[in-house]
């Protein structure tokens, strides 16, 4: 479903991504791991159109997306969350998700001004969808709170709900477990699986929390210094000497367990 072919990107001479190629199949939970500064978030930003790749091409559902602006890519069906949470802080939880429905609410300026039946119809169905998503991530009780007042874990979940509101085929999750406590992490694992199993969304995941990665991933790619150094099933990655060497350093094998 997603094909990344030999993309590279430089920041002022520094290679952030070098010749990275990946294939993500429909229905997979695909993780990208690597040490800090390995280019994982940069990869996400290239995928979502924030940085256009210097070379290479990205195809999504068979169509080329590598020159499109972020909003167009979002409309093609790629949703994302952000490593350092980017919610609309002064909007309520409910509204945050409602913004995600933006492209699916179809009425004109005039409809909004005149409050036509079309307006009410679209708003109502959007509202139902939002309530459904809030239920799904377990934030229905906090719908009226301002996003900025939520706890860290709740904010992460809200970002997921918001990203799901655009009805993505592919969801990019950037370190969703960062800052979560063990109980929240467990809930997150369930949530990620539910996303795939119940909502049929393919997932591309960046995560430092190895326990989560190993528990949910179908496949894992490892980036180091902007290069892809390994790709394979979790078990294979766990055993891959290049990964252990480059990514974790000698003697760190236990922590992957």
């Amino acid at each position: 479903m997603l094909e990344i072919a030999a993309i590279s990107l430089n920041f002022g001479g520094l290679a952030a991504l070098e010749d990275v190629s990946l294939k993500v199949a429909e229905g997979q939970i695909f993780s990208v791991i690597g040490p800090n500064g390995a280019g994982k978030s940069t990869l996400f930003n290239v995928l979502t159109g924030i940085y256009p790749p210097a070379t290479g091409a990205i195809h999504f559902l068979g169509r080329k997306i590598s020159k499109l602006p972020p909003q167009r890519i979002a409309r093609r069906g790629i949703g994302r969350t952000f490593q350092n949470i980017r919610l609309f802080g002064s909007m309520t939880v409910f509204e945050n998700v409602l913004v995600g429905r933006h492209t699916h609410i179809r009425y004109t300026y005039a409809d909004a001004l005149l409050h036509t039946p079309r307006y009410f119809c679209a708003e109502r169905s959007a509202r139902d969808k939002v309530l459904d998503l809030l239920n799904f991530v377990g934030l229905e009780a906090r719908a009226e709170e301002l996003a900025r007042n939520l706890s860290y874990g709740d904010q992460r979940r809200l970002e997921i709900a918001r990203a799901m509101a655009i009805q993505p085929r592919l969801l990019l999750l950037d370190e969703p477990a960062a800052g979560m406590n063990p109980r929240e992490t467990d809930a997150l694992k369930a949530l990620i699986r539910a996303l795939r199993d119940e909502r049929r969304i393919t997932i591309l995941l960046i995560e430092h929390h190895m326990q989560v990665v190993m528990a949910v991933s179908d496949r894992i790619a490892v980036l180091d210094h902007g290069r892809l150094i390994a790709e394979g099933a979790p078990a294979a990655i766990r055993e891959n000497p290049a990964v252990i060497e480059a990514y974790l350093g000698p003697g760190a094998k236990e922590s992957l367990a």
């Binding site: 909003q71 919610l87 609309f88 002064s90 913004v99 995600g100």
Partner: protein, 420 residues
């Protein structure tokens, strides 16, 4: 129970203050309780019907009746109304969409000139036709046209400006605002379109025979001046009502949400599929449209238009109103506009008139240990001279002690309540 009690209290206060105003329309203290009640109508958490009844009752009954004796009330109302509409328009751009626009007065100018040129003999300098266009439909037609031209100008100015972010946008809008003013000041040659610094006058007002007929029922010697004061007062209130309605509806639509989203976080907004350019242009055009309409009203009401009304200072003052009231807050924009206008043309002026009267009557302030004869007040300390300084001071203090504005933005809870 408590709500009910407060509602009754508010309505009683409204009646009492309205009655007081009508009984002594010229004594400026009677305006005080009316303004206080209107303020409460804006801010109190009471059922909407109660606040509307009290507010509209004062605005549409008490003030017009008092205004028959003291037309300054109309002038005050009109100016507050005009600036409220401008503040509401700018609130869309700056408050909701977070785009810093320092050239907003340009759209006001576009609207004003749209009517002034065709509502006076000015148009005959560059085209054939029978000017001024004085019949009754023309003004309303051109007011609508002014909305359109202002919105189009908004898009034209927005197109280049919106490629830029944040503070760059500020300086570019400032520049383009100046461009509009300088053009208005200079386009008297080679073709005389705006009549340059001489301004355009007299600008036609729409005929109001129906209102005069109505007025004559109450007061047989009502002059056209009084009629027009009342007319513009009512017109402005009607437009404000419309503008508020549009604002509220947009706020509750995907457009309003997109504005706030790009204000909060452009990157996240784009990840939601929101197109920045389209959204920003919508904001610019919407904001500009409001001021275009008021521009046409302003031209007709002043009967005179010159570039002096559309300076950078004007843009800044409107921005000050929005921020003082509370960015993104509709009620805040109205309150901000009302306060700044009141301050500028009533409070500070009354204050200096008061001190001046003390000086002329040789009033001696006697605090026992300290005595001051106001007759000795030096001319350099003429209070009328320091109105702008006080305005500046208020802005600074306000920003330090209440930066979120008088009525901070409240994100709505309506989405869920509707189902209940």
């Amino acid at each position: 129970m408590k709500t009910k009690l407060l509602s009754i209290l508010l309505l009683t206060l409204a009646c009492a203050s309205g009655a007081a105003l009508c009984s002594a329309p010229r004594a400026s203290w009677t305006l005080l309780p009316v303004l206080a009640v209107l303020f409460l109508c804006l801010t109190m958490r009471l059922p909407r019907t109660v606040r509307f009844t009290a507010g509209l009752g004062l605005l549409l009954i008490a003030i017009p009746f008092a205004g028959f004796t003291n037309t300054f009330l109309f002038e005050l109302g009109i100016q507050i109304g005009i600036f409220s509409a401008l503040a509401l328009g700018l609130n869309v751009v700056v408050g909701m969409a977070g785009l810093l626009d320092l050239g907003y007065a340009a759209f006001f100018a576009i609207g004003a000139y749209t009517w002034a040129i065709f509502g006076s003999t000015q148009a005959s300098y560059f085209m054939n036709g029978n000017f001024p266009l004085a019949g009754w439909p023309y003004f309303y037609l051109f007011a609508a046209l002014a909305v359109l031209t202002a919105a189009i100008t908004g898009i034209l100015i927005g197109l280049p400006a919106l490629r830029l972010r944040g503070d760059y946008l500020a300086v570019v809008t400032l520049g383009l605002g100046e461009v509009v003013r300088v053009l208005a000041n200079n386009l008297d040659h080679p073709v005389n379109i705006t009549n340059g610094p001489q301004g355009i006058s007299p600008v036609e007002r729409p005929p109001i025979p129906w209102l005069m007929d109505l007025l004559h029922i109450f007061n047989p010697d009502a002059s056209p001046a009084l009629g027009y004061a009342l007319f513009f007062y009512l017109l402005v209130i009607a437009i404000i009502g419309l503008v508020v309605l549009i604002n509220v509806r947009l706020d509750h639509s995907r457009f309003g949400r997109a504005w706030v989203a790009i204000r909060e976080d452009e990157i996240a907004a784009r990840a939601m599929g929101i197109s920045l350019t389209r959204t920003k242009l919508f904001a610019f055009a919407t904001g500009a449209a409001f001021s275009g309409a008021m521009g046409a009203v302003f031209a007709a009401k002043q009967r005179f238009i010159s570039p002096e009304s559309f300076t950078l200072l004007q843009s800044i003052t409107i921005l000050g109103m929005v921020i003082l009231g509370g960015m993104g807050s509709i009620r805040g924009a109205i309150l901000g506009a009302a306060l700044v206008t009141l301050l500028n043309i009533e409070v500070l002026k009354s204050c200096s008139d008061f001190l001046n009267t003390l000086r002329q009557t040789g009033f001696v302030l006697d605090l026992g240990f300290f005595q001051y004869n106001f007759a000795l007040l030096p001319s350099q300390l003429e209070p009328a001279k320091y109105e702008r300084m006080i305005f500046g001071l208020i802005l600074v203090l306000m920003m330090i002690f209440r930066p979120q504005g008088l009525i901070p933005e409240v994100r709505h809870r309506l989405e869920l309540e509707k189902d209940d």
